[in-house]
């Protein structure tokens, strides 16, 4: 099992995708937490302490970009090691905007097979 005990937060509003990522990551032995709305996501990220946050952009209540902007004003209590965008948006502008707000990379959901997805997660954890 790769990198046990690493803590990952999955932020994804689509139930089925959220459950899928949780299952995939748990099967790899990670400690996985999840959030399905912008507010819930912000609270959890603000509490902090994750090795990796996978953050969807389109979310109810507050979107991913706003969460990142809010975090700049109210930094997390415990540092999060890395935040990576989880997105279907291939529009470069949105991604560029998010990269400016301090994320360390992005994953395009529809592009990867699950093993590629797990590889990418592993890369971002190291």
């Amino acid at each position: 099992m790769a990198s046990p005990h690493k803590k990952i937060l999955v932020v994804e509003d689509e139930d089925r995708l959220n459950d899928l990522y949780v299952q995939l990551l748990e099967a790899e032995g990670y400690a996985v937490d999840s959030a399905k709305t912008g507010n819930e996501a912000f609270e959890k990220i603000h509490e902090g302490g994750y090795d990796l946050v996978l953050l969807d952009i389109v979310l109810p209540e507050i979107d991913g970009i706003h969460i990142l902007q809010k975090l700049k004003k109210e930094p997390a209590k415990k540092k999060n090691v890395a935040i990576v965008l989880l997105t279907n948006l291939t529009e470069n502008e949105t991604i560029a905007k998010a990269l400016k707000e301090g994320v360390s990379g992005y994953l395009i959901k529809s592009r990867y097979t699950p093993d590629q997805f797990l590889d990418e997660v592993k890369k971002h954890l190291n």
Binding site: L17, L20, N88, K109, T113, P114
Partner: protein, 435 residues
């Protein structure tokens, strides 16, 4: 009062040609009707001949009334407007008003003359009010000419003047009749033009809607496709108990089909972007040789497994064109990928890069099944399915790849063509302008 203004046949001919030019140069309906009532007075100097008010009326099929549409910009017209108890645009004469001279002119398609304005205002204005208008404008005589198109009367023009009918020369009458005929044609033209313009706008809007729909639909399809892919993968790879072979095989087929659908969705999204002119390209001076070399490296393994002799040849050190590196890579992945896909084991696929004049020519030659002459024109269409090539390969594409490739090549100001012989192979030739 009237200047000597001789109207010779030559003069009439020239005047009509001028009017025709003025009217036919204009296509917008509102502008045409404005010119109709003003051109003759001012551009041809009829105002000097005592003509002071010109009115255009058109028959409206729907409401069955003859409507006043346009009025010349003269002070006499202005005075008549001020005196009138009913606004100009509301003087609609019903087709049933057979005592109105305008209606008679419309029905008989023959010109009429009146010295008495109630004849052309009944039953909308009382005789008293109509006379009041006539007095205010200072009009002695009004000549009514039918406007006809293909022998159908569509309206009547009123030429009102401050002289009597006797003072009107045959030349003037001829010119006015000729003018009324041109008016009919130009109104018809502008109506058609306006209708076409409206229809065109509607089509454009529909096209945009279709485009947006495809774009949104494709986008919405991605989420369930991603979920299906993930869960089937989980079922195959992370099953807590070992799966029977047949179940594994069935799930793999489901996964492959889902993948095929995902490609289809991506291709449709690409097409909707290209056709909706929302296809973003990052154009920069790009060397094609490393782009093609990269494609070669990505495809080399596939060539090896089929024992295909796969090569890239170029005698030039570089080939700079204006292009989007990633999109160019996709073009060559598609064409060379197809060549490898359709070429049977132990065949040959050759890519040759040459410079000629101001172009780079890339030919991709294969020893695949070839494409019949009849099928070549279909090749670059959407959802193409060619029986001969698909019969011989197990792999199937989305049927959109070549269409997209051609579009992207053309967005790079390039061209693609194919030469092929059944059972011998095909050669795709792509050219781009060099920088």
């Amino acid at each position: 009062m009237t200047k000597k203004y001789r109207l010779t046949p030559e003069h009439i001919y020239k005047a009509l040609i001028d009017l025709q030019k003025i009217l036919l140069d204009t296509l917008d309906f509102d502008k045409v009707i404005d010119k109709v009532v003003n051109a003759m007075l001012f551009d041809l100097g009829f105002v000097e001949l005592g003509y002071k008010v010109i009115v255009l009326t058109l028959y409206d099929e729907k409401s069955k009334v003859l409507k006043r549409i346009a009025l010349s910009q003269t002070e006499q017209a202005e005075r008549a407007l001020k005196a009138s108890s009913v606004p100009f645009r509301e003087i609609d004469i019903p087709i049933s008003a057979s005592d109105n001279f305008l209606i008679r002119t419309l029905k008989t398609k023959k010109p009429m003359v009146t010295h008495y304005w109630p004849d052309i205002f009944r039953p909308i204005l009382s005789d008293e009010d109509a006379l009041k208008n006539q007095t205010a404008a200072g009009i002695k005589t009004s000549m009514l000419f039918p406007i006809t198109v293909r022998n159908q009367a569509i309206g009547v023009m009123i030429f009102s003047m401050i002289k009597s009918e006797k003072e009107v020369t045959e030349g003037e009458k001829g010119l006015i009749q000729g003018f009324a005929d041109i008016v009919g044609l130009s109104i018809e033209n502008s109506k058609l033009f306006t209708a076409t313009k409206v229809a065109n706008e509607k089509l454009k809007q529909l096209d945009k809607l279709k485009d947006e729909f495809v774009s949104i639909a494709s986008h919405e399809l991605r989420t369930p496709l991603t979920a299906i892919k993930g869960y089937i993968w989980l079922a195959i790879n992370k099953s807590p108990t070992p799966l029977p072979d047949q179940v594994k095989k069935n799930l793999q087929i489901a996964l492959d089909s889902n993948e095929h659908l995902a490609y289809l969705v991506e291709d449709m999204l690409t097409i909707s972007r290209i056709e909706g002119k929302r296809f973003n390209m990052n154009m920069e001076k790009t060397d094609l040789i490393p782009v093609i070399d990269q494609v070669y490296n990505e495809l080399a393994i596939k060539a090896q497994t089929k024992e295909i002799e796969f090569s890239v040849t170029h005698e030039v050190p570089n080939c700079f064109i204006m292009g989007d590196k990633e999109k160019l890579r996709e073009i060559f992945m598609n064409i060379a990928g197809n060549a490898l896909k359709f070429t049977p084991e132990k065949g040959v696929v050759k890519v040759i890069i040459e410079k000629k004049d101001h172009e780079v020519i890339i030919s991709i030659r294969d020893t695949g099944p070839g494409i019949s002459k009849a099928n070549i024109p279909k090749l670059f269409q959407k959802f193409v399915r060619l029986s001969e090539s698909y019969a011989k390969t197990k792999e199937s594409g989305t049927g959109l790849g070549l269409y997209i490739t051609k579009q992207i090549i053309e967005l790079h100001k390039g061209k693609i063509s194919i030469e092929s012989e059944v059972d011998k192979g095909s050669t795709f030739t792509i050219t781009f302008p060099l920088v």
